[in-house]
Amino acid sequence: MAVIKYFGAVAEITQCTEEHIEVKNETLSDILEHLFKKYELQQLPIHIALNANLVSIEAETAVANTDEIALLPPFAGG
């Protein structure tokens, strides 16, 4: 199963920091579209990381069941 991780303001909305989903043929965009709708995340400025690397949301990237997808709100270190 692919792991979806939520941080900060995103985790506050999803009310969890992690969930696991079974991926069949969905691309990254498919999965994100589903999650954004499910949690009503459209208004938030969110960056996406695939296996700990930032990726473009538009990319038609394939997702494997070993992948980790992270939904990251704006960074606030320092």
Partner: protein, 142 residues
């Protein structure tokens, strides 16, 4: 990978201990230290009492490794340390500590500023600003 994340505030003693450890390195002539301190900002009449920091550590560690490598290539440094708090840091306490050392003073300033700016911009850290009335808002770096 060097340890970067610290539970809770970074104490003045931790900082002095870090300084002391560099006193055996007698090729160092200049240290530059940046400290980020949590401000009691007032937003809509509510005062920030603390920030609760969380982090995507797997990604943060990769990015910090790149940042360190790039900084050592770009600047003529003897030592470089970056520390950031996770968890709750109260107003007035220190959450961010960048420590750069070189032979000459001219080498350290730009490196410190580079490290502070790139950590703020690239490391996936999240900050929940908790007001005195226990409501909160999410901190965003401009």
């Amino acid at each position: 990978m060097k340890k970067v994340f610290i539970d809770g505030p970074i104490s003045p003693e931790f900082i002095s201990e870090s300084i002391r450890k560099h006193q055996t390195k007698t090729d160092i002539g200049a240290h530059n230290i940046f400290l980020g301190q949590v401000r009691a900002d007032v937003v809509n009449n509510k005062t920030v009492a603390a920030i609760d920091f969380t982090c995507y550590e797997a990604m943060a560690n990769e990015i910090l490794t790149d940042i360190r490598e790039k900084a050592f290539k770009t600047f003529n440094l003897t030592c470089m340390h970056i520390y950031h708090s996770l968890g709750t840091v109260k107003a007035g306490e220190i959450c961010f500590f960048v420590f750069v050392s070189a032979k000459h003073s001219s080498e350290v300033y730009e490196a410190t500023q580079y490290l502070v700016d790139i950590v703020k911009k690239k490391v996936p850290l999240f900050g929940k600003e908790i007001f005195e009335d226990e409501t909160h808002q999410w901190k965003t770096n401009k």
